[in-house]
Symmetry: D2
Subunit: 329 residues, 4 copies
Amino acid sequence: MTHRLALIGAGRIGRVHAAAIADNPRAHLALVADVSAAAAAEVAEKFAGTCGTVAEALGEGIDAVLICSSTATHSELIERACAAGKPIFCEKPLDLDLARARQCAARVARSGVPLLMGFNRRFDPHFASLKSQMDRGAVGRVEMVQITSRDPAPPSAAYIRTSGGLFRDMAIHDFDMARWLLGEEPVEVYANGSALVDPVFGECGDIDSAFITLRTAGGRLCAISNSRRAVYGYDQRIEVHGSGGMITAANPREDLVQVSDAGGTRLAKLEHFFLERYAAAYRRELGHFLDILDGRASPLAGVEDGVRALQLAEAAQASLAESRMVRIA
Amino acid sequence: MTHRLALIGAGRIGRVHAAAIADNPRAHLALVADVSAAAAAEVAEKFAGTCGTVAEALGEGIDAVLICSSTATHSELIERACAAGKPIFCEKPLDLDLARARQCAARVARSGVPLLMGFNRRFDPHFASLKSQMDRGAVGRVEMVQITSRDPAPPSAAYIRTSGGLFRDMAIHDFDMARWLLGEEPVEVYANGSALVDPVFGECGDIDSAFITLRTAGGRLCAISNSRRAVYGYDQRIEVHGSGGMITAANPREDLVQVSDAGGTRLAKLEHFFLERYAAAYRRELGHFLDILDGRASPLAGVEDGVRALQLAEAAQASLAESRMVRIA
Amino acid sequence: MTHRLALIGAGRIGRVHAAAIADNPRAHLALVADVSAAAAAEVAEKFAGTCGTVAEALGEGIDAVLICSSTATHSELIERACAAGKPIFCEKPLDLDLARARQCAARVARSGVPLLMGFNRRFDPHFASLKSQMDRGAVGRVEMVQITSRDPAPPSAAYIRTSGGLFRDMAIHDFDMARWLLGEEPVEVYANGSALVDPVFGECGDIDSAFITLRTAGGRLCAISNSRRAVYGYDQRIEVHGSGGMITAANPREDLVQVSDAGGTRLAKLEHFFLERYAAAYRRELGHFLDILDGRASPLAGVEDGVRALQLAEAAQASLAESRMVRIA
Amino acid sequence: MTHRLALIGAGRIGRVHAAAIADNPRAHLALVADVSAAAAAEVAEKFAGTCGTVAEALGEGIDAVLICSSTATHSELIERACAAGKPIFCEKPLDLDLARARQCAARVARSGVPLLMGFNRRFDPHFASLKSQMDRGAVGRVEMVQITSRDPAPPSAAYIRTSGGLFRDMAIHDFDMARWLLGEEPVEVYANGSALVDPVFGECGDIDSAFITLRTAGGRLCAISNSRRAVYGYDQRIEVHGSGGMITAANPREDLVQVSDAGGTRLAKLEHFFLERYAAAYRRELGHFLDILDGRASPLAGVEDGVRALQLAEAAQASLAESRMVRIA
C-alpha cells in the first residue's frame, strides 16, 4: 500500500523529505503546504505533489503528516494533527520552550497518535551500525561517549537570531545522540563556549564554539564538541569507550582518492554538509516512518525524546549563562 | 523530455539497469524483452514497464535500447538496433570473438548510431575523480598503472563454462581501465595464472587467479591483479604512478565504524560485490546515456573500446596458453 | 664534551632516563642515588654508573642532576640542587601542593639555575610536528583543543593512594599540553568524573574516568578526556581546531600490518604504554637537556610550567569536589 | 660476552652496520677496513673502532666479519673468511655473476662457517609481523603475493653503470622477499620494464621502471612493482592473498599528524629512504647475527638464499632482454 503523505513546510529540510518520498515506492507526496504559496508550488511541482492548506494536510485522503515548518509552529501543528488523528513526523527541535514542549508531548500521549521525531542521525548507517554493535556488547559496558558535531559554515545572521541558540538549534541533535548512546539519562550538565568564529554570534547573544559535559546518575560521562564552522567539511564523529574497548564512527569523504606527492598524501574533503552526509539517513528515516504507519515498528525517537533533548539544551543554556554546572531533576 | 527505453535481457545486470531507469526521472522503462517470458514479466512488473519482443524493443515508440542479454547475442542485437536506428547501450563484453566484434563495430560505425559500451567503472565516482585529477596533472606524466580486481566469490560452474574465461569475462573491465588510465594503447601483453581457488576452473580449462602485464609503445606499464575469490569482499583498487607522484583509489567499506579492543582495531568489511560497489556508477552511466540521447555528450566508452578490450583479452589468453609475451600490432 | 649526570631515583621512570643517558654519546651516567640501595645498584650496574648518595649527586664531579624520585621529595631536592648550583631535570609533577611548588619555583628563579620539567610529551615527534605546524599557521588562529589521554591499565591500589589523584598524577601532562597548545592561560576549569573502571578508585576517594573543560581569557576552549583503562592500548591523541582547519596527531600502532578476512579488516594494537609510546620523546628530552647544559637552548618547559599545570590540577580537583566551575585568578 | 666484529667496507651501508654495532651492548666494533684509508679512519673514529687491513679483519682477536665492501669483492672475501673460519655477515647481492656465486656458496657449505646474507627486509618489524601472522595461518594457504619496492630517487649515473642493473641491484631484495613469502621456489619469470624516469638508465642499458611476474611449480603467483623514483618517499609495501583473506604491510610515515583544511586532509610523507625505513631492521639483523655467533640461531637468510635471489635476477634480465618468459630448472 502506498501511503499518502502531506508535507507542511517547503523549506530546505522540507525538500529533503519531499525527495525521500519521491524516491520511495511505498509513499506518495499527496500535498504540500507552506506559508509561502510559491515555495509550496515549487516543491509540489518538482516532486509530483499538489499544493494545499494546512487544513487539507490534516484532512481527508491524507494518511500522515510531516511537519517541517519553522520551529515556532511545531507544537500547534502537532496538536492539530493529534486532533485529526494523523500520524506525525516532526522535525527537530520539538519547540524552543520546554514547558510548551511538555504540554505538547502530553497531548500526543493522550491522543495515541504515533509521532516520530526527526532525529535523523539515529538512522545514519554508520551511527546505526555503531549502536547495534554496542548493543551486541562489542565494547562492554558504556563508560564515556564523545560526540563531535561541527558545521562547515555558519548560518546567516537572520537565522542565528531566531534559531534559539547553538544548544537548542544545533546541539539538540547531539543531546539526542548522547541519550541514545549513554543508555541512561544525564543528570548533570555543564557547558562552556565562545564566539570565536564570527562576532555576529556574540552580537546575537549566542556562541559558535562549545564544549558540553554530561553525567548520568550511574556516572557515565559524555563530552560534546560543537562549532558553527569547520572549513574542512561537516565533521560528525562518535567515539564510545566501554569496559571492553572503544568504538568509533569516522567521517565519510567525498571520495576515496589519495594523492601522494613530494608534500605528503592528500585525502579528499569530508562530505560538505547534512544534505550529503545524511542523505542515506533521511531515506532510512522515511522508511522507518512508513513502517510505523504499517504497524510494523514503533518510533525509534518519540515526542518524549524531543522533550528530553530540549531539556538538556535548556540546561546547557543555563549552565553557560550562569557559569555553573546544572542538575536535572 | 523523458526517454522511452527498451531493455533486452532481464537477468541480474538487466535488473540493475531497470532499477537505474526507475530511479531516473529523465527515463522511462517502456519495454522489457527476455528469452524467458517469466523473467521479463517480473522485471516489467517491478519497474513499471511492459513486456514485449525484441522486435518491439527495436520498434515504434522506443527511443533507445539497452542490450543486457547473454554475450552471444550482443553482436546480432547491436546490428539489428543499428538497422532500426536506435541508440544503443550494450553490456560488456562486446563479443567473445574478436573478428565478430570488429565486424559489428564496423557496422556501428557505418550506421552513425551512438553506442555506449557498459564499462561501468569509468563512471564510478572514485575512479572518475582519480581520472580527472590525473588529467589535471596531479601526478604528472603517467608511468605505471596497477589495477586490482578481485571478486568476492566464484560464479557457478555453469557460468564459468560459457563465460569465455577469466580474461574475456572478468578482466575485460580491467583492460578497459588500463587503456583509459594509460592514455596509450598497450602493444605487449603477458599473462600468467593458476586455478588455485577451485579445481572447477581447471576442469573448465580456465584459471581463477592471474597477474597480467601490459606495456605501451611509449613504455608505460600496467599490472593487473585478478582473482575469482576475495573472502574479505569485492576488491577494486587503482594505483597510478606518474612523474609527480602516486594517485590511488581505495575500497569503500560497508561503514566507517572501528572497534578497538585487546586484539587490535577492526574495520568493517569491503562492500560485498558489484551491485553495492558500483551502485552509483550504474546510475551515473545511465545518466550519461541519457545525455548522449539528448545530444549533450558523446559516448565515454564506444564500440571501438569494446573491440580493444576484447583484443587485449584474446592476447592475454594466447599469452597464458603459449607461455609467452604476445605483441599486438 | 660529555656531561656527567647524576640520577636521583632508580624506579621505573628513573630507568627510562638512565637508558636514554646510556644511549646518548653526549652524556655519561656518573652516579645513581635511591632510597633503596639495591635499586640504585641495579641501575648503576646496568647502565655503567656508580652508586652514591644524594649529597654526592649534588657534589663535585657532577654537571647536572635528574630528579626522578617520588613526588614528595621533588621540591626539597630542587632547592638543594639550586643551592649546589646544579642544573636540574625534574620529573612531573613538581609537587602535590601548589603553595609548596610556588615556593620552590621562586627559589629556582632566584638561583638562576636552569630547570627542565619532565613534560616529555612536548618532545614526542608527532606532537612536536603538530605544534610546529600550528606555529607555522597550518590551521590559522587556535580555537579549540581536544586532548585524549587514556592509560592501558590502572596502577596498583598502593600507587593510587599516594598518587595525588587522577588530576595531579595523570592529567598533569594534559594540563601542560593544553597550555602549550592553547597559547593562552586557562582561566576557567570544570571537571567531572567517575570511578567506573575499578571500585578501588572510589575507595581511595579518587576517580578513574574524567572529562575536563578549560577556557582561556580570550575564549579559547580545551577538552580533556582521561581514563585509567583502555584495553586497546595507550591512547594519546591531540586534535586542534583553528580558524583555518583541524590538525590532529593519531596513535602509533605496534606495526602497520592489516589482516582482511570475512570479518573485516584488523589493524595492530596501539603501542602499549608510555615506555613504548614515548621512547623517542624521552631520548629527545634528554638531548634538549644536554643542549641546555651546553648553553644552546633554554628549557622548553620550566619550573613555572610545572606550577601552572599543578594549579590547573588543583582547580580541577576543586571543581570535581564542589560540582562547580572554578576560576583561576 | 661481547663479540669483536670487523667491518670490511666503510661506505654508506657499512656505516649503517657500524652504527648498529655501536648501539648494541653485545657487540664491539674492533676493526674497520676499507680500500679508502680515509673512509675507514672516519668510521673507526666515529664508532670507536680501530683501522686495519682485510688480513687483520680476518685475523686474531676478531670473532666475526661483516662484508660491506663493493659487490665485486664479496665472493673472494667470503672465501677468505671461510678459510679463516670467521662467521660472515655479507651484504646483498652475493655476486653479480651466478656461476661465481654458486662456487662461493659451495665453498661456504664445505667450510661449515655460518653466513648471514644481508636481506634486511626479513628483519623489518612490519614485514616480520606479516610473515609470522601468515605462518600462523592468518590468511590460509598462500596464493598471490604483491611486492611494491620503489626508491625515492635514482642513484648517480656512476652507480647505475656498475650496479648490475635494476634486477640484480634493487629487485634482488624483492626476489628474496618473494621466495620468503611464497614458501615455494618460483619456476617461471617474466619481466617487462622501461626507462621512464631518466634517460641515463637507457644510456646505461638499464631500466628504471619494471613489473615482474613469478610463478611457482605449485601455481602460486607473485608480482613485483619497481621504480627508481617515487617523489612521495620510499615505497615498500607487501600484499599477500591467501585462501582465507589478504594481509598487507603499509608504509610508515614521518609522523602521524594530519592537517584538514578546505583542500582536504594532508598526511605526512613516507619515511624518506632505507636508512630511515629500515633503521629497526638493521638493528634487529645485527642482533640476529649475534645470536648466530652465540649458537642460539641459525641464519634466517643464508648463502643459498643469496644464490637463489641472484638466479631470479638473472632470469628477469634474460626475460627483459629476450621479451619472453624464462623458466628456471
